[in-house]
């Protein structure tokens, strides 16, 4: 069955028929060719598919596409602001990226975190990232990268350099 959907993706309006039982992730990847969000599990357990839905980080594999009617979706491809750039630079420079399959989801989630908390501490980071699996890095550098990016974006509220 196909139904009408109206959605804004990465700032561009989109309108058309979609498979009603499709997930937001499949819609983004298969219909729009936005493959930055990855399918690691298709069950809400890995965080590789995280996108912003009206500014909130969500596992797009769990969202029925029709639920995003009239919403605003932003994927890794549509995040090109200063904060995202800082996060990407920090992830690469501290070694928080290895194979990179988990990375887009991590960056989007970290971007959402920094929009809420300027300089998150270890606990806040752990809480925000607990839904994200990474099998390569052992996570310590991911936390370090988020802190580094935060301190560069908001130097005035950052704690002392560690």
């Amino acid at each position: 069955m196909r139904q009408m959907l109206k959605v804004t993706v990465n700032g561009y309006p989109w309108e058309g028929l979609v498979k009603s039982d499709q997930s937001l992730l499949d819609f983004l990847r298969d219909e729009l060719g936005l493959t930055g969000a990855k399918k690691g599990c298709d069950g809400g357990e890995c965080g590789a598919c995280v996108v912003l839905l009206d500014g909130r980080a969500v596992n797009s594999c769990l969202i029925p596409v029709l639920d995003v009617n009239n919403c605003e979706v932003r994927t890794i491809e549509g995040l090109q602001d200063e904060q995202t750039n800082q996060l990407q630079d920090a992830f690469v420079s501290v070694g928080a990226v290895q194979c990179g399959f988990c990375t887009p989801g991590m960056i989007v989630a970290a971007r959402a975190l920094l929009a809420e908390v300027h300089n998150p501490g270890e606990e806040e980071i752990r809480e925000a990232m607990v839904g994200h699996l990474c099998r390569c890095t052992g996570y310590t550098r991911i936390a370090a990268a988020i802190k580094l990016a935060a301190s560069r974006i908001n130097p005035e509220t950052a704690g002392p350099e560690r």
Binding site: T75, V97, Q98
Partner: protein
């Protein structure tokens, strides 16, 4: 340009972090079909018949292939002698998840629906699940073509164990059990295939060894190797699990059948059910130690659960049987090993290749012996540690060995002496409550402990494969002065491309941004067996170094001719060639000159590295120097055990690795972090829950991999022993970094609460039960 030893971030890091890196599942080709696999629901059954007529009626279906409508040759992974696999099951299925049919359709939903409509009639057969019972006479055979369920067995001796045991002050004996571990790469197995008019298939695959894959898939499909081209795609985590995989050949099959491009991607459940997890083993070990701490004799029996097919498990069994013998100066050894078929998921390669399993046993039993001798476990290891220059009991020529340094530096780094408790606290909860009230209760509840374990690995070893197993590289310089590196070793995400770029840039005198490293394409890249066995940096790195030196010679020869100077008087720095009397030319200028001087030819450096003095092991005695270098490790785990519940928390891991020479500290430490995380998962958390042949934990919520909240502090110490064979002295790191973690944690648990857990994973229940057994109520 001295780039060796510098922190250089991944050259493809930004591509990954922006989501621009194209992985296999992201590929879209015009007219592409979607392929899916029908898998067996039974562990052991005869296929009576398959009815695909209803599935064919589904609009959009383009191909349905089964073992009933097609003949498939028997094959094995490259060079393995027991041909026990077919692309699709013909007569029997051998495990839950065995491939029975494949379908290609215009989209995923249609393919899934077609699978549902294929009716397979099975006649269930009695299965065998337990490797020990599978070894007995008269049990059902997993493969009818085999005489028994034991496709491989081995036995070898060194010295005289009877004499060794006779001279021992203590003899300890224990049986260890280690289970399946799933690789847990975030990218599930995937493949895209396309067939041209001549019947030649191009496969886009996230795989560790395109060269080996081509050999195996040609055999599986019954076509010549030159009819397959493999283009390596970025690998979203491999860890051994993506060396080769049947789905790739199935995708090629569908592309040949339909003449259209086909994509196949495992669901996560399929990947759990039919991946190639770590080989489970039962390890019986008996160790004799003299009163002065000298290791005197060791006897072992290893039974490895191959699951339904051999895959690489014969090599893994061999590795488990004999690599660890070279860690210490032990002369009297007797070992028996059996590889056993069961009707369970076939097992395969996973970081460590049999070594984590057996080091859990060896390094646990060493602590048991130390305990009996009243000797510090670090001291016991130092007394016996292999040293630089040793030729080990199996004939390994150890040209660099930092084992003692690793032990000293990891224990010092962890504050070993101060933290090592000499006494455990055997009080039960009731006693403590009575004695001292709440405060003491809390203190007694959480017991801290510290444990050490060591390991070694090979780096750049001779495999059982009949193919050239050195490495080769070609470096071309284009007219813009950019060096392009072609090598046969793959990047699994660990950063091999970055390391290769770093080496090429270092040798050529270029900024690293002027070096590109291609992904492997079997039509273009020179031969290389790919990435496994810690060979990428050691062998591939050497080949890149030699190719870059060759390219450099060519560049300087052209520059010398152009300027009337001599090559010896010219240097390249930052992409500029300079020399006396103000000679100054850019590499781009030289490349353009080369183009005209060589009439359209170009600068092309070649490098071939053949590891010296390396042989395959003797088929019977298993003797021989199998690798050109050997990395060593010591890890110290600090744990906290909740004595009331048995829950174990790792507080810190201090990991010292002898990597020969650190080429890129940023990436090297990243390998340690990731490996230790996997090691902690292996030790404490990960259990596939296989019962009656069925994987019950096949989601990430049931199969518990470490998350960010599970990670302790990891302190990494890199020891440099400067190996004469490694490039710049470097040896491998990624595999041994996981190997000792389990034993280090188990030893720390013993140190904390006095119970020895001999089975992985070490769950809270097991610790709780052991505490109860030893001390009564906790």
């Amino acid at each position: 340009m001295d780039l060796i030893g510098r922190d250089i971030p991944l050259i493809d890091g930004k591509e990954k972090a922006t989501g621009r890196m194209v992985f296999t599942a992201d590929i879209n080709r015009p007219g592409m079909l979607y392929g899916m696999v029908l898998r067996s629901p039974y562990p052991h059954a005869r296929i009576v018949q398959i009815d695909d007529s209803r599935a064919w009626k589904q609009p959009g279906v383009r191909a349905i292939i089964t073992g009933k409508n097609r003949q498939f040759p028997f094959y094995s992974v490259a060079g393995q002698k027991v041909l026990d696999e077919q692309l699709l099951a013909t007569d029997k299925v051998h495990f839950i998840g065995d491939e029975v049919a494949v379908v290609a359709a215009t989209d995923r939903d249609t393919a899934a629906e077609a699978l549902r409509l294929i009716k397979v009639e099975y006649e269930q057969l009695p299965p065998v699940f337990d490797p020990l019972s599978a070894m007995a006479d008269g049990v059902p055979l997993v493969h009818q073509s085999q005489a028994s369920n034991i496709p491989y067995r081995m036995e070898f001796s060194r010295g005289d164990i009877n004499e060794g045991f006779a001279k021992s002050e203590v003899i300890v004996e224990e049986t260890f059990n280690v289970g399946h571990q799933y690789q847990g790469y975030l990218e599930p197995h995937a493949a895209v295939a396309e067939c041209d008019i001549s019947g030649r298939v191009t496969l886009w695959l996230p795989m560790q060894s395109p060269t080996l894959g081509r050999i195996t898939y040609a055999a599986a499909l019954g076509i010549p190797e030159n009819k397959i081209r493999i283009v390596q795609m970025p690998i979203g985590g491999g860890f051994g699990g993506k060396l080769e995989y049947k789905l790739h050949a199935l995708c090629a099959l569908l592309a040949k059948e339909t003449g259209q491009p086909v994509k196949m991607v495992n669901t996560r459940a399929e990947d759990f059910q039919a991946g190639l997890p770590r080989v489970p083993m039962q390890i019986k070990m008996k160790l004799g130690v003299r009163s002065d701490g000298t290791l005197a004799a060791k006897e072992s029996e290893i039974i490895a659960d191959s699951g339904a097919y051999v895959n690489y498990s014969h090599g893994i069994l061999l590795s488990a049987c004999h690599r660890h013998d070279n860690l210490y100066r032990l002369q009297n050894i007797h070992t028996k090993g059996y590889l056993v078929y069961t009707n369970k998921v076939p097992t395969g390669c996973f970081r460590g290749f049999g070594n984590p399993q057996v080091h859990f046993a060896l390094e646990s039993i060493l602590d048991m012996a130390a305990d009996r001798l009243g000797m510090d476990p670090a001291e016991l290891r130092l007394r016996n540690a292999t040293q630089t220059g040793d030729v080990t009991v199996h004939g390994w020529q150890v040209l660099s060995c930092g084992l003692s340094d690793c032990i000293n530096q990891s224990t010092n780094g962890a504050g070993w002496q101060a933290k090592r408790l000499t006494e455990i606290k055997p009080d039960t909860k009731d006693q403590v409550e009575k004695k001292a009230g709440q405060e003491a209760l809390q203190e007694a509840r959480y017991a801290k402990g510290i444990g050490l374990a060591c390991c070694l690995h090979v780096s750049g070893n001779r495999t059982f494969l009949p193919y050239f197993d050195g490495a080769s590289c070609r470096i071309t310089v284009n007219e813009q002065g950019m060096a392009i590196v072609f090598v046969g070793e793959t990047d699994l995400g660990q950063g091999a491309r970055t390391t290769f770029a770093q080496i090429a840039a270092h040798e050529l005198g270029l900024p690293i941004t002027d070096v590109m490293v291609t992904l492997v394409d079997t039509d273009i890249n020179p031969h290389g067996l790919g990435t496994f066995g810690d060979r990428a940096t050691t062998l591939g790195g050497n080949a890149v170094r030699l190719a870059a030196a060759d390219a450099r010679r060519q560049i300087l020869a052209i520059a010398a001719e152009e300027t009337g100077s001599t090559a010896e008087k010219l240097v390249i720095n930052d992409g500029i060639i300079t020399g006396e009397a103000g000679i100054r030319l850019s590499l781009a200028e030289i490349a353009q000159l080369a183009l005209s001087q060589l009439a359209g030819g170009h600068i092309c450096g070649q490098g071939v590295y053949i590891p010296p003095d390396v042989t395959a092991v003797h088929p019977d005695t298993k003797y021989g120097n199998i690798s050109c270098s050997y990395p060593f490790v010591a890890q110290v785990a600090e744990v906290e055990v909740d004595r009331w519940t048995g829950r174990v928390k790792v507080n810190r891991i201090v990991a010292a690795h002898d990597v020969g020479k650190v080429i890129n500290p940023l990436l090297a430490n990243g390998q340690v972090d990731g490996a230790v995380a996997q090691g902690i998962g292996y030790t404490l958390m990960e259990d596939m829950g296989i019962a009656n042949g069925k994987v019950s934990n096949k989601t990430f919520s049931d199969y518990n991999m470490p998350r960010i909240t599970d990670m302790p502090e990891i302190k990494s110490i890199l020891v440099e022993s400067n190996d004469p064979n490694g490039p710049y002295g470097a040896k491998g790191l990624a595999e041994p970094a996981l190997t000792p973690t389990a034993a280090a944690i188990a030893n720390a648990i013993y140190n904390a609460v006095g119970v020895r857990i001999t089975e992985l994973p070490v769950t809270a229940e097991k610790v709780f039960r052991a505490l109860k057994e030893r001390f009564g109520c906790p």
